[in-house]
Symmetry: D2
Subunit: 466 residues, 4 copies
């Protein structure tokens, strides 16, 4: 990809996104902007999880507004950034990777002193400090259906902060300021293709020749799948600021199978007596590594029956329930939604209830039967099986700090489950409270009110004092 790439600024992107009616469409749109001019469809078909991609835009301002070193400086000044928790000070010189975190709070004076002395700075979890990063990631998580995370890296001219290594996530390196020299290397072997865990630091001699050797400039994007080794260093004439947006950590078919297998076997044990039958009396005399060299027809027969049962477990696999286990983990990982002004105005967050002239005002406002509601985001909540019951899991009360809050869910009464499903499927359409498929008006209203109060639905018109 080459040639100057024009594109809308993040500001106008976010404003435009706010007008999109459907949060999943919004997520696709934002992702398209991220990888523009690559079409998402072909990206996911040809590149994603397969090979690195570089987008040179010759447009230093393309990502303006996403993050900046000035913002970094502001965060150090205004927020409680702690070394080792939110910020790492690192260096990689003469093949040696070091971390220099002192204890305690990271204040500009100390941080910039480290930087001056050639150390790289890695800001962890910038979404907790930057509203824009939070907004972007909370939208992207609906694109990936897997947690969208980020780290910010600031590197002084002429230095390198990290040793070559590979990660366990799909990485989008967004160059924000300055430039950086990147070298990307193929996975070293089939075993390291799409790995589940990150690598240790490698020495230069372990990684072979780069398949990509480029200079990333402000406005450029570099993507590489998990397992691709990479290292970046600053040229002598410019610092570098980039944010790496990541996703798909432990989001493989195998990760889903880890949820599925125990549940499937439990079902098989309950429902099929073949699984409960006793093992052959003498199996220990011909099975086990001690007997693995033996030629014994009983070995063949035993193995065949065991593997037959193993395959048969698939017949009992509660696939949707296992997906729900995975979904619940994802919902716990999620950022809470960063609401647009319009969303706020039509939701509990913007409800006109307030203290005014010595009294609580605006609480008289209630829903009516003809009030129209919908989920505030498609991904805000999900009906999940949880053992024998079905609960509504949601992300409205999640924290911007990873896993600071416990997973949130509540039970939906049997009388309201169908209405809840109706609401979920109606998205992005608004539906009137009275149209909810409950037996009684009370059930409709109480479901609508609880969802409204917990921040899960908003109304078609802003709540306004009558």
């Amino acid at each position: 990809v080459s040639g100057t790439v024009e594109g809308p600024s993040l500001d106008s992107v976010l404003t435009d996104l706010g007008k999109i009616n459907n949060s999943r469409a919004r997520a696709s749109k934002l992702f398209e902007w991220l990888i523009h001019p690559l079409p998402a469809k072909s990206f996911f078909r040809e590149t994603w999880e397969k090979k690195p991609a570089l987008i040179k835009r010759h447009n230093a301002g393309y990502y303006n507004g996403l993050f900046s070193t000035a913002e970094f400086d502001r965060i150090l000044r205004d927020d409680e950034v702690h070394f080792g928790v939110n910020l790492d000070v690192t260096s990689y010189t003469h093949g040696k990777r070091e971390t220099h975190n002192p204890p305690g709070r990271a204040l500009p004076y100390t941080v910039w002193d480290f930087y001056k002395r050639g150390c790289s700075l890695r800001l962890l979890n910038p979404q907790a400090f930057s509203t824009v990063v939070w907004s972007v990631l909370s939208i992207l998580q609906e694109q990936f259906n897997s947690m969208a995370g980020a780290n910010v890296y600031l590197t002084p001219p002429g230095t390198q902060g990290f040793a070559p290594h590979y990660d366990d996530i799909e990485a989008f390196v967004v160059q924000l300021e300055g430039k950086k020299h990147w070298r990307v290397y193929n996975p070293r072997s089939d075993d390291e293709v799409l790995p589940l865990v990150s690598s240790p630091n490698f020495s230069q001699s372990e990684i072979g020749e780069p398949v990509m050797d480029v200079v990333l400039e402000a406005g450029d994007l570099l993507y590489f799948p998990r397992g691709f080794i990479h290292q970046g260093d600053c040229l002598p004439d410019a610092h570098s600021l980039h944010i790496t947006i990541s996703s798909y950590q432990r989001n493989s078919w195998g990760d889903l199978l880890q949820k599925l297998f125990p549940a499937a076997l439990e079902m098989a044990l309950e429902e099929d007596v073949e699984f409960r039958k006793g093992l052959p009396l003498d199996y220990l005399t011909y099975m086990g590594v001690q007997n693995s060299d033996k030629e014994d027809p009983r070995r063949t027969q035993f193995t065949a029956r065991l593997l037959g049962l193993m395959r048969k477990v698939a017949d009992y696999a509660p696939v949707d329930a296992a997906v729900d286990q995975k979904a619940r983990d994802f919902l716990h990982d999620c950022l809470p939604p960063a609401l647009t002004p319009e969303e706020k105005a039509s939701s509990v967050q913007g409800a006109p209830a307030r203290w005014d002239r010595g009294a609580a005002q605006g609480t008289a406002l209630k829903m009516k039967g003809h009030t129209k509601i919908r989920l505030i985001r498609d991904g805000i909540a999900r009906l999940c099986s949880n053992g024998d019951e079905v609960v509504l899991c949601h992300i409205a009360d999640n924290s911007r700090v990873y896993h600071k809050e416990e997973p949130k869910s509540f039970e939906i009464s049997d009388e309201q489950t169908e209405a809840m499903e109706f609401l979920i499927r109606s998205y992005p359409k608004f539906v009137s409270v009275e149209s909810l498929p409950c037996d009684t008006f009370e059930d409709k209203m109480s479901l609508a009110m609880i969802l409204f109060e917990r921040g899960l639905v908003h109304t078609s018109e802003p709540f306004r004092p009558s």
Copy 2:
């Protein structure tokens, strides 16, 4: 089965068993005696895990020597039996099941007072107190390749001690003294055939009509598979003493699969990139219980791929390693071997080392190259995989008290693994130390000595002072 059944007494059975060269043959022989005159082969084919069986022997002395109420009394007197730990005092009257254990030690005075007042007594784990029961069970565990356990029940005339229920083990009810009226009922439904856990107490109205209604007399045997409901009560004219020998608790194909699945999936994840590939971007929008009613071709496709992978995991299943996990659990459950006098005389337990006339004597005795050794029992030890290494797991230091000792194992050096396998496979043949396939004589001797000192092998001739 009816008519008077003659058979050897336990004493002569055990003496005869001691002459059998192979501990597995010994185990079969003992089991045959237990179910005599049923042939073991047809028993395992037609009855085991399938239906109850009754053996009426009209030979009150058939099981003489196995256990008696006099032995029970001796145990109370001589050993530290504690209520609630080793002994339960129970009653079942007017449909109500109660436990009456006081705190502290169970002494004859208190125990017999309970009995006089109509309570049943259940002695748990009698193998810890009775050498004969220990001997019998430690032999039978080689027949079952699954822990052989036992409880003893003493019931006063005209009473019942337990409510109807089913257990999670194969049960052999051995009537030792007096008689007892037994009713056995089919499993109540397919779900309760060969169950994995025991039932709660049932009321009489929940269990239907008995399929077997018999009076067991001394010398008789009653077998029923797990899942068959049963209750026994004493006739007014006689007390009852029986021992229930049990096995095959959690020893089903499904229990092996619980070991196999995680290991197999781990292998698949390591070796096959298909398992490491990311889930489809949008799978949460059409999978999960929330979407389970949806007609969506993507659901079919997703499920097919997932179940395909699930079945494919079987291709990576480390069957022998999983069997070894199961085997290690079994070895932990095992009783230590109860050695015959001949076995003792030719093993470390009977080595003539002793304190005599103010000095240690008999330690000069060492193995020679031509000394012949073999495992002291086929089931005494086993080479098991343990992650990446192979260890020798053994039961020589197990306790007669269940799980009082940790699982025991030690590493075998690479130089000695082949010799260890040779020894295991040579059983029941004795082989000379010099014939062990090691490179050096030192390796042969050190392997032989360590196995001898840990009580795992014995010699063809007793160790005698030269």
Copy 3:
């Protein structure tokens, strides 16, 4: 106390406080304002821990700026307030005290609805949300040398939110808006004078007659010691907002003795063989409750020797070390200092290091030998014994959320301990770095720099780019 009481507003109070050179003087001044026109000296002599006091000011604006319901509303809107964690919804009607917290985040819509329906609102730990409350409490903790905490209570007209009870803290009830009818009762017995734990809720019949029955109006103050039962209810014509400032929780002589005794006994055991001598052979035959009625001269003698040793332990009491244990607990409880603009400008927090025009600026600024420094607050740090070493404990990195951070401390090298003590004692005077009593200039500079970087000292002149 009666008659209109004029006084400076909180704004001008805080501005004036900022000009006071010594943080302890500042704390006294602020406390004087709190209880104005009562003189602190007589208050502490005659009232504190002894009896309730009422200050009627007839000056509704006296506490303006400290907190307001508008601020409450803002906090609900802007901050992450969670029911049950930061906010309680309560009621007390017909003698029944209830809590109505739903799960999840507390948003204005829900909160004001509860209020409208007659519930009281208690905002816990307002210092985490309000900068002014933080400032006030962080100053007052230097007055009390014990944690200064606060709760805010908002009560609808004509309602009561809490049952009568007593607390375990000294309470300053600061009426901010509206008015509230308060009844205060003497401790019910000597045992409940200055209690260590709060009471359960009392019924009206358990508490006798009030010793104080007043209406608190905005600008008024009500003080009562721990152990004094109290209840407040709103008149039909006005809501009430008050903040209760509290201190001296578990700050009694006995609490210090709980630190002192184990340490003292350990010292006595080490240093005095009398404590290590064996007990009399037969003491169990005449001591113990079983023998407590016995007339036995050995009892007298034993008790005398034991109590003699008990008293003698005082000779080994490491009083200062025990005070340090207490001090370390206090420092952990402390709020971090809320710096004035001047303090910020002359400390690391305001150091001109910043990101500007693509580079880190202002880090070249370093201390010189003639730079003058002092602790930024008298109470910011403390040299404490910790076993055998001496560490510098400090509160600079504490969180506004109670105990969110671990206690912070670091070691001071032997070469720098004297200089550290010098600095501590010099407060509030500034001293030059070169005047620190260290052997080398490097030691002086490194001590000064580490204290500066951790936010413990500031300079006499703002750090400015040269």
Copy 4:
């Protein structure tokens, strides 16, 4: 002490002891035998906890029957002795102390091989394996009112098994076979007189010159207090077997004070408001190590008040309750009583209840009003305060294995407490059940029966079938 010392053999000692009516008198007698011909009175006055003592008896058979290497050999053969748990194999050569325990069970073959190769053997807790040692220690614990423990040491000729060290117990080294050269050294400093913890191994250069240098021969006794360094080595011509009987581990005045202080302070806090009063507002500004050099009258005043309160705590000290805490620990440490045949015959352990001719016999025997009972041992049980209630703590169900059983106790009803006290104080007199001071005959009988059934009392006449 020198010259041939004649004395009764252990057998006749134990037989004679059985005739002594009072278990405490029995304990004194046995102790006198242990240290014969030293008089106990002068021993405890002049030697105990003060200095080593040697008793040369020139009577190799004096301790015959207590323990022997033959018994050691039998234990290895018959009991489950495990290396590292019950047996240590050690050596001390060229100043280097080593432990050689292999894993697993200690069988004679392996153990005697170690011995032959010059290793020392230490049998831990021999009371669990030897009935005589159990009898002796269970009697002696009533002498010491502190756990009586033991280790057995077997050392080959010409070797030493342990480095010089001191222990935390009073040690009685009883030479059983052969002879051993002992050197005993004074505590190295006042701090190491009567220490609370054992020392590490010392080098020869650290311990100075011995104050005692003797050869202990069979029948001899060596006593030394805790803190006295000691080492023993075998002469080339004889092995050595000795048992070290120990007591008074953590049984000092200070150990009792550790129970007393927290209880006393809690009482003081409850009862005396002086302890609940707040600390001075400004105490942190002049107290603490930071201020320890300051001349400040407030320091003097503060310290005086604090130490005054510290001493005043003694006024609230619940001495008997603290002694009971200590007593409860001791009872948990105790061995169960080893009953004489007569004691057995008249207690629940020997009650004639038994299984005979197909039925439980002898349970009809019950107490009558005129049956006479007493505690089976003075030290078998104790009424102890436990918080607000009084419980009967006892040792009847303790195990011969240290702390294998939890502490045992049960509640005595209010109606029976006085009777329980009466029983305790009546010891060693028998009293009739009807004479117990309870209101009703039922209460008398139920108390007598529960004590009888739990093995705490016995009757004046054996229970015999009427």
